[in-house]
């Protein structure tokens, strides 16, 4: 692992994209930044602009309208970009998988680097996923 890679892994800035989510995953993601879990000790920050992001967190079922937004965000982001699908809806579609407006799970639209399943996943699961992502080669 070179110096560049090391710096990237030590400072992952996260942009959060919520699809048609039921808000449970959003709350669990915000939980990770609270004093109890504190992801900032790994250098992880939540950023406001996709131009600063290293990680794109996607949760919620992606419907037809979200699909365009998600693709646009993916193309706007500076590469290298890691994509994480969070929750059952993000990973597979969950209970919405056969819905009429469902446009496919995240990995049908953009390449995904890590999946964190659960409905919603616990903050511990999200942290475990992020740590695995940071250690991934």
């Amino acid at each position: 692992m070179g110096f560049k890679d090391y710096c990237l892994r030590k400072s992952l800035w996260v942009f959060h994209f919520g699809g048609a989510s039921c808000n449970n995953c959003d709350i669990e993601i915000l939980d990770c930044l609270t004093p109890r879990y504190d992801l900032e000790r790994f250098g992880i920050l939540l950023v406001g602009s996709i131009r600063h992001a290293d990680v794109l967190l996607v949760n919620g079922s992606i419907n037809r309208r979200d699909k365009d937004r998600l693709l646009e965000l993916y193309h706007q982001a500076p590469k290298p970009l890691l994509v994480v699908a969070i929750g059952a809806c993000g990973c597979t579609g969950g209970i919405f998988a056969e819905g009429i407006t469902f446009a496919g799970p995240v990995d049908k639209i953009i390449p995904v680097d890590a999946y964190i399943p659960g409905c919603p996943p616990k903050p511990e699961a999200i942290i475990a996923g992020i740590v695995k992502l940071a250690g991934k080669k």
Binding site: K4, C7, K10, D38, E40, R41, V47, S49, P78
Partner: protein, 309 residues
Amino acid sequence: MAVYLLWFFIFPGLLFMAVAGAFLSWFDRKITARVQFRKGPPLLQPFYDFFKLLLVKETIMPKSGSGFVFLLAPLLAVFGATMAGLFILLPLFNIETGFRGDIIVIFYLLTLPSFSYIIGSLASGNPLAAVGASREMKLIISYELTFLLIMAAVIMKSGQKFDLDSIIAAQQSGTPFIGSISGVLLFIAGVFCIQAKLALVPFDMPEAEAELASGIYIEYSGPPYAMIKLAKYIMLFILPAFLVALLMNGMNPGINIVWLILKILGVVLLLTLIRNTNPRVKIKQAARFFLVWMNLLVVIAIVLIALGL
């Protein structure tokens, strides 16, 4: 010539200021974390952030707008911060430099980073960046008068000395200016001016993360954003150093460098605590805060100085 280059690039210059500023940025984040009962980032976090942006990420140019100005602005910000830092730090470390009136030059150079952020964000052609730029402009208009008045008061207190070297010398032969009532008033106004200059939380409307999505920096990615981070690190170091030079005695020779470090850390700690215990104000409130209350405070201080207090 060689010694000037050394000054600019290595010792009180770019490298030293960047390292010191990065450390102070870590200090700021760590204190923030401790205030919120969190653990906080590791010591080298600012370096990881900077090198990640500089070496790993790609630069995305905005589709509309002027690419040349967009890329030039961060460099201009780093240049302005470094030059201002040189004029501040050389007298602070007791190296005999400067000229009559260099405090005015410092004043103008310190506004250069803010102005280049405005230029860069307007060149990006992003509407949110334009809103951020207009807010930054209003903020500059609000705090600059207060900042100038503070410097005028310090000049008056030091007995019409117009260069930083003699101001520090006047304090070292007498008492530090903060040891009087007028000095304390000036210090309070100065801390708030620095807060606004650094765009820290009560006055962070230009980059308001929640509503403007980083505002003036929204289009920057990769190396240009790394340059902006560098300029911010440097500003976080030199503005407290400037306040220490103006009001708190600078550095006596010898072991007193420890005192200098403690003074700068103390000012940064104060800034961090203000930033962690206040909500963001509206631009109108910020303008009124500076144009009415802070100016009033500094004018009272000037009257007190005229009375010899």
